[in-house]
């Protein structure tokens, strides 16, 4: 049977399938459907220094082969996570990464420092790419100097695996990727959602309360795949690919484009068991192609 284990720096994953922040809650929401411990890792909901109520309803619009969201980082704040949620999930036997966001560099740093103390959290995913908050978030990830500044500052205080989640809403994603790699990122994950909008022609109003929101789902996959391919050629740290993955074939495309692991997001809403199906599908692909290690797929794209 083919080996599914992968390494992201010091982080060992039993398989390359993780879940994307904001689509998997804290894992508990899916525990009736699947064995959470069978996953390579989960990235829990975006966490900020202070509790946030998020944006007003409506926050979601269904679009062709995808959806827009404008949740706006609703969360209980890092202390709420540590006191209320962490005790409930710390015994999951998978890699639990916390997605960390903030409005200022100081907020990112303080949140990361607190999470650094949690034994059962082997890494964070630094969210410099949320399109749905007025301050911070994507503002950090769309300018190279600010992406470097926030990664540098968090790197100084955060001792475990530092994954940085990149925004696709930029002219050249490889410049940002190289910038955060140079600032001490252990891996990069991409893509966060693409900025989009939807209009109700009957009311002539935007569907979302925030007018614009983040697009996800199969409709973004070709863009995400292209960016993963570009970034994997530009940096040496592992790349975690995501964007519209809804099958094992989709996941394998991202691996071939250069990803070492993948995250599944929006597809969890339609099939809460999709992660397990993708893991099994990757295993079957290896067997069918007489390959003995999933790592052989990473960057194995044949060109020319």
């Amino acid at each position: 049977m083919g080996n599914l284990k992968v390494q992201l720096g010091e982080l060992s994953l039993s398989n390359p399938v993780m879940t994307a922040s904001g689509t998997f809650g804290y894992g508990e929401e899916y525990a009736d459907f699947i064995d959470i411990n069978a996953l390579g890792g989960i990235v829990v909901k975006g966490t900020t220094l202070h509790a946030r109520e998020g944006n007003a309803y409506p926050r979601m619009a269904e679009t062709p082969k995808g959806m827009l969201n404008a949740v706006g980082l609703q969360n209980k704040g890092v202390d709420g996570f540590i006191n209320d949620i962490y005790p409930r999930i710390k015994n999951f036997k998978t890699n639990i990464l916390v997605n960390v966001s903030g409005s200022t560099v100081e907020e990112y740093v303080e949140t990361a420092e607190k999470i650094n103390e949690l034994d059962a959290i082997p890494g964070i995913e630094l969210n410099i790419s949320c399109p749905n908050v007025k301050e911070g978030g994507m503002a950090f990830g769309t300018s190279c100097p600010s992406a470097i500044a926030v990664t540098n500052a968090v790197r100084k205080v955060y001792k475990k695996h530092l994954m940085v989640k990149l925004s696709p809403n930029v002219t050249d994603i490889t410049e940002i990727a190289k910038g955060v790699e140079g600032s001490g990122a252990d891996s990069v994950s991409l893509i966060n959602t693409l900025l989009g909008m939807a209009i109700d022609v009957n009311s002539r109003k935007p569907v979302l309360s925030t007018i614009t929101g983040g697009l996800s789902g199969p409709c973004v996959k070709p863009v995400a795949l292209r960016m993963v391919w570009q970034v994997s050629q530009a940096v040496n740290v592992p790349v975690v690919g995501m964007g519209g993955i809804a099958s094992a074939e989709d996941a394998i495309e991202f691996l071939l484009a250069g990803a070492s692991a993948i995250q599944i997001g929006t597809a969890n809403f339609i099939d809460p068991t999709i992660t397990i199906k993708v893991i099994n599908g990757i295993r079957e692909y290896l067997e069918r192609n007489q390959m003995d290690d999933v790592k052989q797929l990473t960057g194995a794209l044949i060109t020319g």
Partner: protein, 257 residues
């Protein structure tokens, strides 16, 4: 416990131009469900219906392990569901959400508007099984939009309003004579339907010391608390309609009424 299960369509009964009732066979013993809970239904074969569709559990028959879903054709997803035939499979994630809670007295009024009548049949049956005879107040635009009145009549007293007066009392549900009596004949209102209707009922209940449980229909992506898209403002801040609701005590909601 939430389940993900393929049901088999037994019958697709057309009720009106807009509405059908699907009867679904569960492959084994049905899990226990609470009236007001819902299912997230996967729509296969629709070009533009990407997400599952949240639909109230309309009725449950534990002895035959069947459930009913009331479908109103409003978009591509529901149009595809309304075309399902006997023998077709339908994938459900269920039972989801927090349903209605039982009353402290036996005097209950169940108020439905439009497709909001869907959960009230299962709720009414639940009351009858607990020795409570419910009153139903059902509102529609016209006589042709009233659905399955006979099924509700088997469980309790049914009062009707239509906007054009083509059936029952002319007007909205709040205009029905049973809402006009000085001392109401009920202590609890259970309602599902348009927000405007439910807000009027919440105001009515609030001013008379009556409890009012309302069922919201906010747009959802997941249906089980993972995406945080379907929130509604409450006295405790944003709460997910899919997990903390869809049924809420109207006083818990931050409604401008």
């Amino acid at each position: 416990m939430k389940h993900i299960t393929d049901f088999t369509i037994i019958t697709n009964q057309r009720e009106t131009d807009e509405f059908v009732v699907l009867t679904l066979q569960h492959p084994g013993e049905l899990p226990s469900m609470v009236p007001g809970q819902f299912a997230e239904v996967r729509v296969d074969g629709a070009e533009n219906a990407f997400l599952r569709r949240p639909l109230s559990i309309h009725d449950v028959d534990y002895s035959n392990n069947t459930i009913k879903l009331l479908i109103q054709e409003v978009g591509e997803g529901t149009r595809v569901l309304a075309k399902l035939k006997s023998g077709d499979q339908l994938n459900l994630v269920y039972p989801l959400g927090t349903g209605y809670s039982l009353p402290k007295s036996n005097r209950v009024l169940l108020v439905g508007g439009g497709c909001g009548v869907a959960p009230l049949l299962f709720l009414g049956r639940h009351f009858v099984e607990n020795g409570i005879r419910p009153k139903f107040l059902i509102g529609g635009r016209t006589a042709a939009t009233l659905i399955r009145l006979d099924a509700y009549e088997q469980l309790g007293d049914v009062y009707v309003t239509t906007e054009d007066g083509s059936a029952g009392h002319k007007g909205f549900v709040i205009h029905h004579p049973i809402m006009k009596t000085e001392t109401p004949e009920f202590d609890h209102i259970y309602t599902c339907g348009p927000d405007a209707m439910m807000k009027v009922l919440a105001k009515y209940a609030g001013s008379r010391g009556i409890t009012c449980q309302v069922s919201l229909e906010n747009h959802m992506a997941c249906g089980f608390g993972a995406c945080l898209c379907c929130v509604t403002p409450t006295v405790d801040g944003h709460k997910c309609t899919c997990v903390d609701g869809p049924v809420f005590d109207s006083k818990y909601l931050k409604w401008e009424i």
